[in-house]
């Protein structure tokens, strides 16, 4: 795809300019583009898998590449002698050998691009990919040796030079590896002391990995090998040393850079393909090359596999071999190398360039595109992206120990024996040297356990998010929202959540316009799934990752801001809407109620939970005063809502029940979710230590997005005018519809609704849960015995809107209902998490903000 794009681009450039402005400069490629890709690959290389298959990888990389290079070179030369290749291609044996060397190496970039998409099983992937990485050393050496031979002239080459070639191969590869390992140790050692300067941790990672590349390049060693091994070696220690935030940064930055570099490379390839100045087509050469590389690749793979299978525990079967031969993709490395050729010495350079481009295109486009169907057709075992469970982790470790022991008993100095030795060495010396004290004391198993817990939590959320995104597509009104594009900016990881947030806003915004039943239903569906993302926020935020004082301070701050903004809105509303006493009354009532509900918050000195009670009212109200509060609390709100009596909300109740059913596992005594169970028993939080660090950043993104989208939505002045408190008598009371006001100026464009939400959702984690529950119960009693049927995370706002949607355009509420409502109605309370690290955004523009769910 990218190449196609590059082709098009190149065509455009060609039309516009007649001359190529942008070309793939080898310097650019080798200095910047390649390192990013290789660095990413090396750093995230599954080390265990790599070393488990090291033998196979080395064989394929060294023997296979040599075989390919020589055979291709000789056969091309033979073809030339036979006259298949045009006379104009002035090339001798050395030239063809050179060409064979550069064309024979499987390219890591192309392999990554293609195989990551295909998802073949891990072993297959690591073998092909590892080969592509390691064979760089071979290619580079061969290339350099041949270059020097060509320059000297084939007739002047003496026997000693061949041995020098072999020696230089050893030096280049081993030297490169050593440089990489030295930098890995250095990197691990440096990150051990960066505790005070977390911010530069990623920088060190990037710099040192890159330095490994440059250093190796400087000494003419294999830079790719160096970088790969630096990544592999450092990964374990660095990951353990640096903070979670840095880890995330490193991960995404590397991945992003690699993708960018990959894209650029392919685009450049496409562009240079249309550059006629470099083309010199020779059908014989092109077709011969294509045939030869394919045939020899296949032959080489089969031959080596046959040998290897005699030594492998799990033999590579025929299907694997087919995929491996077919996956011999050539790519940008070959192209860059061929462009680097010196036209003075290699007369046929133009032909070689053209052929290389064709080969790259053919392998990447044709083979790369067809490999997926092929893999499907052959039923190659796919890799499952499933993460290991704790059981598997434990038992596999046990297996390792068992195997090592058995090898010892059987007196074999086998692979497990050496790995065991290495692990001992690692544990006794390396880790002590390279890891922080605190980290060193932690057990890997425990970390794995934590990771799994976090993953569980996240997966639950992601499920919700996924459903949600899919549901979003079904909402016709969404597409036109201005805020929609913004949604796509979020990182992949949080995309669902981000969109979820925005989605909800949109829904609310749209509701009044289209009160279609289907939409209502969809919304119910959405609401059912929405609680999950928020719960994640909560669970992560809830853990004490901040020092206690800070929390208290924040808590206080949040509260003060809440009150302040509330007062302001209160004033402003009164100012503006003197005629609407009723709503004012309600407002007052709600305020006073808020005070009541705020109290517990102040009193309670939870470590991790600092709920802020925010009244969530009709949307106008929200816009007025709950929004500022929400801004402050980037955190997530958990709300439990009352269940209304079915007859008033016929539509909403079933959905609510459904939702309740869904969410009940989260609410109930924590036997349903595995991670909860364990956490109950153990005071130290298991889930979120790390997660806390991850989420804030991303969450803030999502939040900012939603805010900005809100601004874009609700910025029209009319809205702020329209804003007036709307309190809906809760249905159970007056039997009234959710009351809504349609102010004269507004054309029903504003969602009107009663916030049915009440209470707080208590997230069932740890002991805090009970406290919260108690508190809720107290509140309940205060309210006058509303049965809190269930606390449901996040149900509040969605539910509200759904309630809104159900009734036809709302008649003004019966006079009595509003006071009643105010009296009865409990503020919908939203507990806001105050754990957000970012300072709350100024709440001044509350009027311009639309309703938000957060």
């Amino acid at each position: 795809m990218l190449i196609l794009l590059g082709l098009v681009l190149g065509g455009v450039v060609l039309l516009a300019n007649e001359k190529q402005l942008y070309q793939l400069e080898p310097a650019l490629f080798f200095l910047f583009l390649l390192p990013t890709i290789v660095g990413d690959a090396g750093y995230f290389m599954p080390a265990r898998l790599f070393f488990d298959n090291l033998g196979a990888i080395l064989t394929y990389a060294v023997v296979g590449t040599l075989w390919n290079a020589f055979c291709t070179g000789f056969c091309l030369y033979a073809a030339k002698l036979l006259g298949v290749i045009d006379e104009r291609v002035q090339a001798g044996l050395m030239d063809f050998l050179l060409f064979g060397a550069l064309i024979s190496a499987v390219d890591p970039v192309a392999i990554l691009a293609v195989f990551e998409e295909v998802h073949v099983n891990d072993t297959l992937f690591i073998i092909v990919f590892g080969e592509s990485l390691v064979n760089d050393a071979v290619t580079v050496v061969l290339y350099k040796v041949y270059i020097s031979f060509v320059e000297v002239g084939a007739e002047n080459v003496q026997t000693a030079d061949y041995f020098k070639g072999v020696a230089s191969f050893l030096i280049v590869s081993i030297g490169g590896t050593l440089v990489g390992l030295v930098f890995a140790v250095l990197l691990g050692f440096i990150t051990r002391f960066t505790k005070k300067v977390r911010i530069i941790e990623p920088l060190f990672v990037f710099l040192l990995v890159y330095l490994a590349y440059l250093t190796a390049e400087l000494f003419s060693l294999s830079a790719i090998l160096s970088m790969t091994f630096c990544g592999i070696g450092a990964n374990k220690y660095v990951e353990a040393n640096i903070s979670q935030k840095s880890r995330t940064t490193v991960k995404y930055t590397m991945k992003t850079l690699a993708s960018i570099a990959e894209t650029i490379i392919f685009i450049f390839l496409g562009i240079s393909a249309v550059d006629k100045s470099k083309w010199a087509w020779d059908t014989g050469l092109v077709s011969c090359t294509l045939v030869f590389i394919f045939v020899f690749r296949a032959a080489g793979v089969i031959g080596q596999t046959w040998v290897l299978n005699r030594f492998r525990l799990v033999p590579l079967d025929k299907i694997d071999q087919v995929v491996m031969s077919y996956g011999g993709l050539r790519g940008a490395v070959a192209f860059a190398l061929v462009v680097l050729l010196d036209g003075d010495h290699v007369k046929a350079k133009d032909y070689f360039v053209a052929t290389t481009i064709v080969v790259v295109f053919f392998t990447v486009m044709f083979q790369g595109l067809t490999i997926k169907p092929l893999v499907n057709w052959l039923k190659v075992p796919r890799s499952t992206s499933r993460k290991p469970t704790i059981n598997e982790q434990i038992h596999e470790r046990a297996f390792d120990h068992i195997l090592a022991a058995v090898e010892d008993i059987a007196g074999l100095q086998g692979y497990h024996h050496w790995r065991d030795k290495w692990e001992q060495f690692d544990k006794n010396y390396l880790s002590k040297l390279l890891l922080r004290k605190s980290v060193y004391r932690k057990s890997e198993l425990w970390e794995a356990y934590q990771k799994i817990n976090i993953r569980d939590a996240i997966s639950v959320i992601d499920q919700g998010g996924n459903v949600l995104t899919s549901a979003r597509l079904s909402l016709p009104s969404m597409a036109s929202r201005a805020s929609f594009p913004e949604v796509t900016n979020v990182t992949n990881y949080l995309r669902e959540n981000g969109s979820g947030v925005c989605l909800d806003l949109q829904v609310i915004d749209n509701v009044p316009g289209a009160k279609v039943q289907e939409e209502t239903e969809t919304h119910h569906f959405l609401t059912g799934n929405l609680y999950k993302p928020r719960r994640r926020y909560q669970s992560h935020y809830s853990r004490h990752f901040m020092p206690l004082e800070e929390k208290e301070r924040q808590d206080r701050e949040v509260f003060q801001r809440n009150m302040k903004s509330r007062m302001e809105t209160f004033k402003s509303t009164r100012h503006k809407r003197h005629k609407k006493d009723r709503s004012l009354k309600k407002r007052r009532g709600s305020d006073s109620r808020e005070d009541g509900s705020d109290k517990p918050r102040r009193n309670v000195s939870w470590q991790d939970k600092n709920p802020v009670v925010v009244p969530v009212e009709s949307e106008e109200e929200k816009a007025e005063h709950s929004d500022p509060e929400k801004e402050e609390d980037v955190g997530i709100t958990f709300t439990a809502r009352k269940v209304e009596t079915p007859k008033q909300r016929p539509r909403s109740v079933p959905a609510a029940l459904d939702d309740a059913g869904q969410s009940s596992p989260a609410v109930d005594p924590p036997s349903h979710l595995p991670w909860k169970v364990t956490s109950v028993g153990s005071p130290p939080p298991c889930v979120s230590m790390e997660a806390t660090k991850i989420i804030p950043v991303d969450l803030q993104q999502a939040w900012n997005q939603s805010i900005s989208s809100l601004e874009s939505i609700s910025s029209p002045p009319a809205h702020s005018e329209l804003v007036h408190p709307r309190v809906i008598a809760l249905s159970r009371l007056g039997g009234s519809r959710p009351a809504s006001y349609t102010p004269p100026g507004s054309t029903s464009s504003i969602a009107i609704g009663a916030q049915v939400v009440q209470g707080s959702f208590c997230f069932p984690e740890k002991k805090k849960k009970e406290e919260e529950e108690e508190e809720e119960e107290e509140e309940e009693e205060e309210e006058g015995g509303r049965a809190l049927q269930e606390m449901q995370p996040l149900m509040s706002s969605p539910r509200t809107t759904s309630a809104l949607m159900a009734p036809p355009p709302p008649p003004p509420p019966p006079p009595g209902s509003a006071p009643l409502g105010s009296g009865r109605r409990r503020n919908p309370c939203v507990y806001l998490r105050s754990l957000v690290t970012a300072p709350p955004s100024p709440g001044s523009e509350m009027h311009s903000r639309g309703p938000t769910q957060l």
Binding site: V314, E392, G411, N453, P683
Partner: protein, 193 residues
């Protein structure tokens, strides 16, 4: 290598072991020489002390458990047959197993798993209880981890595997938990020919 060893080993014995375990002739003689070199008492059987003398095994956290696995119940000597039978669990699985007659070869997936299972299951009640799991975990993680943490790991592990709610892992549950793991590869070693 072991000319002395192979002379001590009678041909018919080799044949029987071959049939039972699937080891090749050369593998058997090779392992027999290993066996005799371990056998300091030179009485044709290995005792626990013989195993414990292996230096690498001393630092293996699960070493004791694995040594135990070599000994049949209530015995503290193991002869070469038993030795080979245990080792046979770790032979890689061949696709074209020639001895189809043997219904369940020792190196089958189930038997490999059973071997691992027995490492946990000290009291042989075919269940890994929480305590048993904790013991093994403690062996594997060392002292750097607190009891509560370990306990929560164990709880979590059991809960993940436990399907019938008896707070322990039965063998069938054990198999089920590991069904996605490439046990054939991860519980096999390559015996030299």
């Amino acid at each position: 290598m072991g000319s002395r060893a192979s002379t001590l080993l009678r041909e018919e014995e080799i044949e029987e072991i071959k049939k039972e375990t699937g080891f090749s002739h050369s593998q058997i003689t090779r392992l027999y020489s290993r066996f005799t070199s371990l056998d300091k008492g030179e009485n044709g059987t290995l005792s626990r002390e013989d195993f414990q003398r292996i230096p690498e095994l001393a630092i293996n956290p699960l070493g004791d458990r694995i040594i135990n696995a070599f000994f049949p119940e209530a015995e503290d000597q193991v002869n070469f047959r038993g030795f080979m039978r245990t080792l046979a669990h770790f032979r890689p699985i061949e696709d074209n197993s020639k001895n189809v007659a043997v219904s369940e070869p020792l190196n089958s997936r189930t038997n490999k798993l059973l071997f691992a299972f027995r490492l946990y299951d000290l009291d042989r009640d075919d269940k890994i209880s929480r305590d048993e799991l904790l013991q093994v975990l403690r062996m594997m993680v060392g002292v750097n981890i607190s009891d509560e943490q370990l306990g929560s790991i164990a709880d979590r592990t059991i809960q993940e595997a436990d399907t019938n709610g008896d707070n322990s892992i039965s063998f069938s549950e054990f198999i089920k938990v590991l069904e996605k793991v490439d046990v054939e590869q991860k519980m096999s070693i390559r015996f030299l020919h």
